[in-house]
Amino acid sequence: MDVTLFLQQLVNGLTLGSLFALIAVGYTVVYGIIQLINFAHGEIFMVGAFGALSTWIVIGRAQITAWWMLPLMILGAMGVAVLTALVMERLAYRPLRNAPRLAPLITAIGISVFLQEVVRLFYGLIPGFPDAKAPVPFPAVQGVSGGALDLGGVVLQRAAIFTLVALVVSWTFLYFFVNRTRIGRAMQATSQDPDTARLMGIDVDRIIMVAFALGAALAALAGIAHGLQYTNIDFRMGFLAGLKAFTAAVLGGIGNINGAVVGGLLLGLVEVMATAYIPGTFGGSAWKDVWAFALLILVLVFRPQGLLGAKVVDRA
């Protein structure tokens, strides 16, 4: 077996997996607190990518690609994504908090289609912005775009490094945020028992908003990473990415942040390895999505609580 090829696939898998993991955290944080599958989360990821592009267009009239554009784009992306997520939570989800479980899921599909269409139809109408009906080129930024690094035969794209670093930083941040801050501990309390948390003086509505905002910020990071890696973004990119990230969240155990990260990385690896190593006609990239979803179904059959999830899923 070719070791270099294997290492290359490993790197590719981890890169893809980091992207899934960043989005999956958003599903898991919200689910952990209000047991809602925020199906429109994939669209937040897409909106984040467009937020980054908009920041670049607005600030970088002269097509700036200097390294300091990156933090600005991250801020812009996070701002747009968080705002969208908060408005969505306030207007669409909060009124349905005690509704039958079908209602928020159907709402989520509506939001999802709505956000896609808003971007498709209206993004290009803003003066100076490109038409979003077709894929839009994503800007290159110094430091994270351009020449790949060669580590003894294993090629490491700069955008991939950005994605991996983004995941590590976010994960560390989340760990400290959830375990060491007041809000983080309030989040844990709310996820264990919202009613008791409320009695203890925790503003549950605010905690839910924090959960949505956290997920959206990470999804925005993923949106930038996606743009840098694939150099194109389009209004449809949230659907498949969202579905995969949800798969990752279930794989790791939904509601568990570490689980989402592990699940994301694992899903990325499975997809890349399946593409590279499954022989015959069922290998290759044409089948990779099929394997990813098949994995989701297998996990639900044999370990519905996920790899790291301890809680047995029994919610109807």
Binding site: Q35, I37, F39, A92, P95, L96, A99, P100, R101, L102, A103, P104, L105, I106, T107, I109, G110, I111, S112, V113, F114, L115, Q116, E117, V118, L121, F239, L240, L243, F246, T247, V250, T281, F282, G284, A286, W287, D289, V290, F293, A294, L296, I297, L300, V301, P304, V313, D314, R315, A316
Partner: protein, 569 residues
Amino acid sequence: MRLNPVTPELQQRHRRTGWLLALVGAVLLIGSPYLPWAWSDDALDDMTYLFGPSPTQFLGLALGAVLLVCLLAPRLLARVLAGRRARWFAFADGAKAAALGALVFVAVVVVGIAVELGGLVNVRYGGWIALVAALLAVAGTMLLPRDRPATLGGVRSPGWLVISTIAVVMLVTLLLVAYALDEDDPVIFVALLAFVAGVVAVLLKLGVGPWFSSQTARHRGVLVASAFLVAFAFPFTQDGSEANMSIATQVLIFAATALGLNIVVGLAGLLDLGYIAFLGAGAFVAAILSGSAFSAVGWNPPFIVTVLISGVVASLLGLIIGSPTLRVSGDYLAIVTLAFGEIFRLVMINLDGSDGPDLTNGSNGIPGVPDLDLLGFDFGEPHVLLGVEIGRFANYYFLLLLVIALIMVVFANLNRSRIGRGWVAIREDEKAAEAMGVNVFGLKLFAFAGGAFLAGVAGAVRAHHDISVTPDQYIFLESAFLLAAVVLGGMGTIVGVLLGAVLLRLMPEKLRFVDEYRLLIFGALLVLMMRFRPEGLVASRRRQLEFHEDDEELADKVDPTVTRAEGAR
């Protein structure tokens, strides 16, 4: 700020002012169609004549007349409607609905004239008068106090009256549908829709609607039979024209699939986001076995066999996908079915001979599916029946009516059976149902596989109707549309889902100008429906209660024994 308390005198004064305002509005509404509304006859139909109302203007006149009747009836009919009969009708509520309907109608027409002729300057004084009249009517009726709910729904009427009402309603429906479908102008179509919605709202508020539904419940057979008779008669109004029949068959395919999904979502409460895949599975099986030149399989069984195989294959897929996921949470089912829908599409694309075994011809799909040939009856050939030419689409239309009838029979019988009650119990509280001895897993699986079977049958017919079957006909968005039809119309009801399906398929055909914004409106509609009327346009009472648990009055209507028992404690 301190508000003055509402005294009886104040109410009385407001009532009188409101009544007068609304009366003026109604008279103006009746008069305005005789005035010219537009400068050019290019807008809508010809609205340029003084004292010559166009058909569209007549609709405005009719709404005005309805409003006038609602306003005057309590006074004129005071002697007839005395005593217990006094509360039969809710005239004030009816007037409110009529005024609102008139406002929407006139606004649509005025905006339509402005859009089609390029600017509001093209609206002549008649249009403005009508708009002012409608505004006056709305303002006036708003001042009227609300009626107590009409009691007409509880009145028993002789059978002949009910049956002849059913006949009249059905006839009007048939004529209306034929008329609406012939309408090419999208604005007139919307205005017509606003008119119909307005009249229906008036009837519902007035108490005639509840009367109709409670009386027809005793003559359900007559109602259903006459509805089918009307549906059956529809092609004969088309005089051999295929354009509308093509739309009608598409609506029926969509409606049949939505009814199948309604069993899964509406009765059993399982959110299936990949339902379109079962339709696709049926369609692909039928196409492969159809003897098309592009099919990889040579076997070409008769259609009866093909339909059964399609249904069985679809329900097997349902079993494969359902058995693992139905054991865990309902949310998982939604996402897994979504994933399954994607897998289905991808597999159909990949089974093209280069990425996998050749079965489906890849993304090109299987074209050239021959027309159906049932017992020597060729669906591709026009036939002459009762002097009217019945074309290719009309043939499929009749077949689809049969399929829909089959699904409705299945639905109605299941709904009233032990199985149906089990589903309702599971939908409302799974754990309680299990504790009461309901076989939760078995029933869920049955609903899932049964719904898949029906979709497979519909898919088999669709393959022949569409002539070609391609994977991109079966995308997630189609599943979302089906779900929207179920949600919009009213989960768990037949009439509602039929209405939802007709609206969702007919609107895009007739309103080409909103085609670009179709999905945007659709997404917003789903969110708004869930927010403000989650039970759908036509709600089953029980379902309505599930979404409004705190509504005591409603609970009493659904099951008087429960609240009374609680009150006695």
